[in-house]
Structure formats: C-alpha cells, structure tokens
Symmetry: C2
Subunit: 141 residues, 2 copies
C-alpha cells in the first residue's frame, strides 16, 4: 500500500486507470499528494500543499477530485469535526484515535480491535462496516 519515491507517479496513473478515472495532470497531482503515505488531509490542506509545490490547480478541482476519488474507493472521507472533513488515503478497514481539541486522527490497526459482541443491524438493514473512534486526551508533559 505504500509507494517508493521513484515509481509513485506511474503507480498513481495505474490506480486512477484501474478505477476508470482519466489521469489528468490535476488528478495526478492530487493523487501524488495523498497516495505518498497513509495520511488524513483536509481539502484545504491538499490545496495548500499543491500550491506550495507550484501547482495552479483550482479549489473546485481539488474538491471535485477528492470527491471523485472517494466515490471510486481510492480515498475514504472522514469527519474531523463540525466544519472539516478529511480524506484518508488508507482505504483498508481500520479505526482511529481522535485527539481531543485538535481533532487529529491517528490510525488504529484493525487487528488491535476485536469484538466479543456486536449487534445486527435494525430490521430491514444490513451491516456494511464498523468504525471505532477512540477519543484520547494528550497528557500534560
């Protein structure tokens, strides 16, 4: 799931094509930012990083691209707080620690969480997945 530096570009192109997404310059740029590592980035942060790298991509395109990637399963969208969503480049099922205050998200390996009991969905529904958020507080150092 991680990518070395030298082949990131071609891997991004391959991933996009595998999802029937035309690998345009802007989409490649967004992909290169997000797929470089497992991370949680807001749209604003993606835009900031692209601009820092000299890209002239527009805000609308960043949003369109992130939403498209999420729709096609290349990213997962997460709610950080009331006014920010983040996009998670780790699309494998997993859980999160969420730090009180900052809202920072830290991955929890799915193997770290096991259920002894879990309900079925309400009548007329089927369960799609389970996500655990472990709220933590930074201890004063």
């Amino acid at each position: 799931m991680e990518y070395g530096h030298s082949n990131l570009r071609s891997d991004v192109a391959a991933r996009l094509r595998a999802c029937r997404i035309t690998p345009t310059a802007q989409r490649m740029q967004v992909g290169e930012v997000l797929f470089a590592a497992r991370q949680h980035l807001t749209a604003e942060e993606v835009l900031r990083r692209l601009r820092t790298k000299g890209s002239r991509v527009s805000k609308a395109t960043v949003y369109n691209t992130l939403n498209l990637f999420a729709e096609r399963g290349l990213l997962k969208s997460l709610q950080v707080d009331a006014q920010r969503s983040a996009f998670d480049s780790n699309t494998e099922p997993h859980h999160h620690f969420q730090v009180e205050g900052s809202g920072e998200l830290i991955d929890v390996d799915p193997g770290e969480v096991e259920f002894a009991k879990l309900p079925e969905g309400p009548p007329g529904t089927e369960v799609l997945g389970v996500e655990v958020v472990i709220r933590v507080r930074r201890l004063p150092s």
Copy 2:
C-alpha cells in the same frame, strides 16, 4: 432519563441549574425540545421545531444554546456528515447505527457492544472513551 409530560418543564429548569446555566425562556424552550426524548437533532431542526411551536428564538441563540449545553454535558454533539452536526440528548455512553445515504442515526445500547481487545492510547495520551459507528444499508423492500 426520560421525562413525563407534566414535569418536563421543571425538570429542564433543574437540569440547567444543576449545570450552572441560567434557565432563560429561550434555553428552556430548547431544552424542552431536546430533553423530551432521546433523539438526534440538527440545529436547523431544533430551530424549525421551535418556530412551529410559535417561539421567536433566533438562530444565533439556538446555536449558542446547543453549544453551551454540549459544553456542559447536557448534550453530545455528533457529526452526521460533512455539513451537518447533530445534538444527541442521550449523554450516556452509547453507540450508533448510521444509515447509508440519509445519515440517520439510531442508538445502539452500550450493552450490545463488547470488546475482546482494545488498544491503549498512543504514548502520552489517555483514553477518554470509545464510540462505535455501525454503518448500515436499508435493504430494498
């Protein structure tokens, strides 16, 4: 945790006072809407219900009041999706089903979920709580 009809008003006043919140007319109205039952309401929905009942409370006051209640532990705030948060009148630790598409939240009794394994927080943090969201899909009827 539930309130009969006849004593809801005085119970709301008592709950507010117990949290050192001055029970003004507007805060009582918001409390009467939310504390009437266990439910998840957006700020907009609270405002709509108040207006339907003839209240002239302003949008700013609804937001201020909901945030104040949440700060003092009378409500829990939840993220429905990227652009809506809801306020949960059930402040006991519990979990949720979330219906795909609508985002509707349905309570899961904490007794329905048991962990066989759960990690400690990352170094330098302590765990405050664990929240489970079980995503479900409505089956075509």
